[in-house]
Symmetry: D3
């Protein structure tokens, strides 16, 4: 009965519905394969975080993307 | 000073404001009753997760709801 | 299929096994009563946080408990 | 490689993009200063919670703000 | 730069170090494969939850395991 | 009434009690300074994650530390 929470950047980088379905299938299969967990009770929750709200290196992703494309 | 995080499906299944208030009241009362916690410092955060972003059994809730109503 | 995460202080303030069972029963009943959720797919996870690792008012709970008992 | 998750009330109380950037910079600097962590691998995620979905004292923030301004 | 949090039951059911390494590798590969994310900035955190602290169906896993083996 | 969750590696890399107190003080001051939040209702929770349970680049921190010191 594992619980998996996946946080990714949203907005322009948000996963499509098909990609979300693939993440849920893949994460569930991983828990089944590695730990023999029951897929029926494996919960996966995907959260999409706006690029202004995600930071690494002390900067928002918004700022990093701008710097990369400059 | 407990912290309670409740994640439920949103969208068409999202709780109403009255239901959210009831969840917050109920979760706080539970912590007061069972552990004698101070309600003033008990924090409850409800998060609504789109049905495309929540999976069990390796499938999105969107797909499961369709299969159930088919 | 809700997911409930309850964080409380552990150590000397940790809930007993019976209190944990009561929190799990109570949180599940709350979701059933307010939102008509399926208890079989309602997941509750309790996390016990050491008092050195929990802060409010800018201080650890350890420091607050000392100040209260002084 | 720390991970920092900051949850604040959103809606009318949501931080501006500049405030989010400042939270990300400040949280990263804190981890560098106190624990000598590498800023490049320090992740900060800010989540904005609607005032109907956040509770303390058994009440939603929406209700508390109304009571304060009444 | 995704963040993946995997919660599983610990104690007698805790994953081995090799299984944890496999979960981390698998979750990272999933994000690379489905969303073309950079593995270097993909963070995976595994949390082991005692069986008394995890509930489904309103019961602790401890109680469910006992009922299953009875 | 913000909620801040800080996850860092534990074990040999665990913060000392003084460092935890400094993280709690610093995170609270950050929320006060940037968003004018009330420190009394600002909650900070620090979680220490074993190095086998934390991964980046598809590897556990345990494996990365070994490679660095080899």
């Amino acid at each position: 009965m594992p619980y998996v929470n996946i946080k990714v950047t949203g907005g322009a980088e948000a996963p499509t519905p098909a990609q979300k379905a693939e993440l849920i299938r893949g994460a569930t299969e991983l828990l089944v394969r590695v730990l023999n967990k029951n897929p029926a009770t494996t919960v996966v929750v995907i959260e999409e975080i706006p690029m202004d709200n995600w930071g690494t290196g002390g900067e928002t992703v918004t700022a990093r993307r701008k710097a990369q494309s400059a």
